[in-house]
């Protein structure tokens, strides 16, 4: 099944908008534009906080095609908070190790482990087709009665001012208008909202094309990320192999800039690549073929008054590093608690500016890593190529050169340095996540039950205390006592003020109630700092 060339994974019911049946629509607190993983995750986060959620989905289906397949530990922790993490891990292929090969050698020149700190609930990475992630998000949304996903409703125009926006929505029964206080633009790299506002991107476009060949075959191979520089089956270029659920494998080949996209994905042209990588005798079925090019760029600002951008609509990176959806998902967690507190009048509207500051900083770090990986993978000058090959040559023999080999620095959380919401440390902390950093997980026992630290943090601000005398505050408090890994990772006797997105806002060696109050006010942009 396909629609306008887009393959369909699962059809979804189109419904005529109530606005077109003579029902006067009331003004929405916010409207989410876009039904990819970012729009859906943001919708689910807001729905779980009790808000009325409206999501505009341009098509009336979940599209097929594996697309983004690598979900990081941070993304899995976010899915856990949304209640679908365990379903994703169960269906997905868990991996932690990546190997890098050079030339025709079957021994890796370098390998890395994406989960250096063990004893955490979630693995370094899970591979799963994007449509499963979207399907699970939709399942969770459909179980809630405060959610309205409008399948087959696309934004075609918008006017906006300091109080909100009026969206013109096009559906098969005609156009109608939606009034809203906020527009949450999660409408992807070709964002309609961004275009309607005449806003553009700043950054670099890379002149290179890559072939994705997702194929189905049965062969026993380890669940690892394998990357090749200059392999015999793609001389002078690169290749990548990833395992997905359902015996599907992601094969990715660098093609160079001038390619005929139609020609390149024809079976007879793809076959030599696949057989080169997997062997002449391999029997496979084609699942999804696609050509991609990429940019590393972002919008100058993500917050434009009451129009807020998240995910690919706001920032784009190369796929090396799996920093697309994995950086869009933290956008949603960052935005959801701030918008929630603003809508409940528990925090001033100025709190939104911290979303802009923190997530543009996150995007910059992702773009930096992604650009460096891309320059290593596809060097653009003679000297850059010589450096790359020299590093690979030395990595064969010498340990020091192995970390230089950059086949993609895979997504890890981007800390918020100098965030206005963070209280700088006073005193020395030998261990533990710094303010602006995400909490590290650890196995814990709560009320006699074994569990994990991250999943025990709720959807609100929490005071984490490592000892048996938690300071008294009005905040939800989680006390972790005893001699365990959590104390080793955070420091005995310490207290951490943790935001709803599991970022440390402040920490104290010996917390006093007044300090915690000050830290909390600062973390929600209330009053002076």
């Amino acid at each position: 099944m396909s629609f306008e060339g887009i393959p369909i994974y699962k059809p979804k019911p189109y419904k005529k908008a109530p606005e077109l049946s003579g029902v006067a629509g009331s003004r929405h607190p916010f409207v989410i534009v876009g039904s990819g993983p970012i729009g859906l995750a943001l919708g689910l986060a807001m729905a779980r906080k009790g808000h009325q959620v409206t999501i505009l989905a341009a098509f009336d289906f979940i599209s097929a095609g594996s697309k983004g397949i690598c979900y990081s530990k941070e993304a899995l922790d976010i899915f856990d908070q949304l209640g679908i993490g365990e379903r994703i891990v169960k269906k997905g292929v868990v991996w932690n190790v990546g190997k890098v090969f050079w030339g025709d050698s079957s021994d890796p020149v370098y390998q890395f482990d994406m989960l250096p700190v063990k004893d955490q609930k979630n693995p370094g990475f899970v591979n799963i087709q994007q449509y499963y992630v979207e399907d699970y998000l939709v399942d969770a949304l459909e179980q809630m009665d405060n959610v309205d996903i409008r399948w087959g409703h696309a934004v075609s125009d918008m006017t906006h001012d300091e109080n909100g926006a009026t969206l013109t929505v096009t559906s098969r029964d005609g156009d109608y208008r939606l009034e809203t206080d906020y527009v949450l633009a999660c409408d992807g790299s070709k964002s309609t909202i961004r275009e309607l506002m005449g806003l553009d991107f700043e950054g670099r476009i890379f002149e290179d094309s890559f072939l994705i060949a997702d194929v189905k075959f049965k062969q026993s191979r380890p669940s690892e990320r394998w990357f090749w520089f200059d392999p015999p089956f793609n001389k002078g270029r690169t290749a990548l192999l990833h395992k997905q659920p359902d015996d599907i494998w992601r094969l990715d080949f660098q093609l160079g800039w001038d390619v005929d996209r139609e020609e390149a994905i024809k079976s007879e042209n793809v076959a030599p690549f696949i057989k080169g990588l997997l062997g002449e005798d391999i029997e496979y079925e084609e699942d999804w073929m696609s050509i991609y090019t990429f940019q590393c760029r972002r919008m100058a600002r993500f917050v434009h008054g009451r129009v807020i951008f998240a995910g690919d609509a706001a920032h784009q990176v190369s796929p090396f590093g799996a920093r697309g959806a994995n950086s869009g998902l933290p956008d949603t967690q960052n935005l959801a608690w701030k918008l929630d507190m603003i809508l409940r009048k528990q925090a001033p509207e100025s709190l939104l500016e911290s979303y802009n500051i923190e997530r543009t900083q996150g995007a910059d770090e992702n773009i930096l890593n992604s650009t460096r990986s891309t320059d290593f993978i596809t060097p653009k000058s003679e000297v850059s190529t010589a450096f790359r090959d020299a590093a690979l040559e030395l990595a064969n023999t010498y340990e020091f050169a192995r970390p230089l080999v950059n086949s993609g620095r895979l997504s890890t959380p981007t800390p918020y340095h100098d965030s206005p919401l963070s209280t700088p440390d006073s005193g020395e902390f030998p261990v533990g996540p710094k303010p602006g950093h995400v909490c590290v997980d650890a196995p814990i026992t709560v009320n006699g039950k074994d569990g994990w630290l991250l999943e025990s943090l709720g959807d609100e601000f929490t005071l984490l205390h490592f000892g048996d005398k938690p300071p008294s505050t009005g905040l939800t408090t989680l006390t972790i006592a005893g001699n365990n890994l959590a104390l080793e990772r955070y420091g005995a006797g310490t207290s951490y003020l943790v935001r709803p997105d599991k970022i440390v806002a402040a920490r104290w060696a010996h917390a006093h109630e007044s300090d915690i109050k000050k830290g909390f006010s600062r973390a929600i942009a209330q009053g002076g700092s």
Partner: protein, 67 residues
Amino acid sequence: MKPVIKLNTKANMLRCDDVYEALINVHTGLSPQESMRLNIKLVLFLTNHIGHADVIFEAIAKAANPK
């Protein structure tokens, strides 16, 4: 606080003529491309041995603009 380590721009090496000669002789018979690759490997070895990013950045800046 870690001490700030500066690039040493004073004469720091005994047998400097021997080293200079060895740096040149190793290129005998190499094409410009091969020489470039060899020089890069040398740079990578030595930067790792020095091990202080700030020293390397200072050396890069001074090499690009010696005045």
